[in-house]
Amino acid sequence: MSSDPALTTWLDILDATQLAVAPLADTIKVAWFDDTVTPTKSTDTAFNVAPWNAGELAGGSYAAGGPTLTSKTLTIVSNRIVFAASMPTITGLTDTVRYALMWDDTVAGDRILTWHDLGSLLTLTGEDLVVTAPDGWWRIT
């Protein structure tokens, strides 16, 4: 597996659908899932729609749907449009995770934007999950 954009959402942003994703104004969340998910970048559409409807992280300070990103920016860096943001730390977790799914909780249909693959299943035991993306979460090149 790999980290990918959700192509169906980006297509709907760009084509006649004109899906009104506004990353700075909308509530953007990051939901966390284990390795029971099998993502497909050409067909996956939304949070809570298969395959992103099972295997979600639970416990500790995590609320279903994941934390809301803060301090969001869209800037041009080295000839790329970069979306950067901060994710609040999730505390007190005892669970497993592999995927971080970014989705828009403001547009209709809870459309997904991207997912990150940690590369393997990660086990937390009463631990905090501290996530940073110093060079941004996604970029248009």
Binding site: T114, W115, D117, G119, L122, E127, W137, R139
Partner: protein, 67 residues
């Protein structure tokens, strides 16, 4: 009832107590790499007070056309 951490002269009475409440650092944070993929590095940080955190550093996902 817990004993005071400092005596009347302000001197620490018990180093382990000070460590447990984070008043002093008992050494370096131990960092262990757990995994690395194209877009993520994960590490476990165990602090001197015993607190353990999993740190994930993400790289941006590229949204691009084929060239």
């Amino acid at each position: 009832m817990r004993e005071p951490l400092f005596d009347e002269h302000g001197k620490a009475k018990n180093r382990e107590d000070l460590l447990s409440v984070g008043v002093i650092a008992g050494g370096k944070t131990r960092v262990t790499k757990l995994s690395e993929s194209e877009h993520a590095v994960t590490e476990r940080h165990v602090h001197p007070d015993g607190k353990s955190e999993v740190h994930v550093t993400l790289a941006p996902v590229d949204i691009k056309g084929e060239r």
